[in-house]
Amino acid sequence: MAYSDRRTRILTGLTYAALALFVVAMLMDFFYVGPERQQGEAHRIFYVHLGSFLGSFLAFGTAVVAGIAYLRSRDHKWDTLGLSAVEIGLGFATITIVTGMAWARPIWNTWWTWDPRLTSVAIMWLAYAAYMMLRTGIEDPERRRRFAAVYGIVAFASVLYTVIIIRVRPDTIHPVVAGPTQADPEGAFEVSGRIRDTLFFNLFTFAVITVVLVWHRIRLENLSERVARRKMEVLADL
């Protein structure tokens, strides 16, 4: 099951495209969009914050789809997809939390507070960290794939909780960009004009980056499997 040249070329092309998009997105964050009326320069980190959350949301959603597909078909490729998606999603979730903290320091005057949104995102991070622990804890490969698929589906409850909680709890100070909110958040702003252009461009960029990274991770997993198989063949010949 050698990795075809054509697919490798597509992936390389996509990687360069993602890099170019990322550079343009960063230029927009720093130069196209002006300082926000109330938040000033601190506001610029918001695009990376929301973009990386979109990345983790897409990745964790992919893990659910891959989990269901694996349980139905028992095809290894779905498990590889699930593992890759969760790893990339966990990375993006970490970026979301770190950029959020950097933003909160000047705006909320604290790095961290037990706001419902912050609590739920911490729970989400822990759930997927536990997913990784589960994978290392189960030795039998078939059982590991099965349990990982099940836990990947259960853990998505924490993602839904994160998305829903700021829209139903009145005691959050976290701003909501789209949709209704019952709260009076600290640091909200109107999404219009250049802010909207920059936001949409960043979201698109991060979606592309997520796809590219997951693809790279799948390729890495397949290659390492191939190396392991070749090693066994060589050892068998000795």
Binding site: M1, A127, A130, M133, L134, R146, V150, I153, S158
Partner: protein, 251 residues
Amino acid sequence: MSARGDSTTKRADVQAASARAVKVRRPVTPYWRAVGAIAWKDLRAEFRSRELINSMLLFTLMTVMVFSLALELDAEARQTTVAGVLWVTIVFAGLLGLSRSLASEKDKGSLDALLLAPIARSALFFGKMFGNLLFVLVIAFVLMVLLTVMFNITLIHPLLILLVVLGSVGFTTVGTLLSSMSVHARSRETLLPILLMPVVLPIVISAVRGSTAVLNELPSEDWMPWLQLLALADVIYIAASYALFDFVVEE
């Protein structure tokens, strides 16, 4: 099914075929009788050995002591922290029971016999879950009496009991599902809390906030959302466990 990818191995085909065969077999025992029989079996075994309930009760007593000594609370602080003490203790004592529930079956080899029994797999799940739920509820009510005495706050309140029951249902449902996964792990005693905590934290948060609001006699709009969230989480976790348990125990 023929449209599947050609990369699937023959072994996977055989497994999938046997999984399908499992699905079409007809259980002979009525569903709820099977559920009741498994829960009753666990209770009778526990009633005879009393190994679990005794350790859970003693653990509860010690945890409450540790909390009252470590926090050194005055009357006002007790009012706001008692719900947290209640739920942290329920979760940790419940973990003891959950990790034993399936581990003992597996160690004795009786898990295979249970899986061979001509009953629906979900009946096995609900039987185990009701057994665990009963242990957790016994612990919770002993704890409520204990905290009422030691913290001098009356916890026996219909709404609080409802919150405890709803929270325990959610906790034991997802706990039974995850403990049936963690029994197969190398270090199952450490894996279960790691797997379970993030998933039950939404339940614990809702239960603690709701309980605190009820205890401080706040108006209904302060505890109602938490009660609703708790009920919603229960429904989601019961549905998810019902759908997923078959995949956890198939072998």
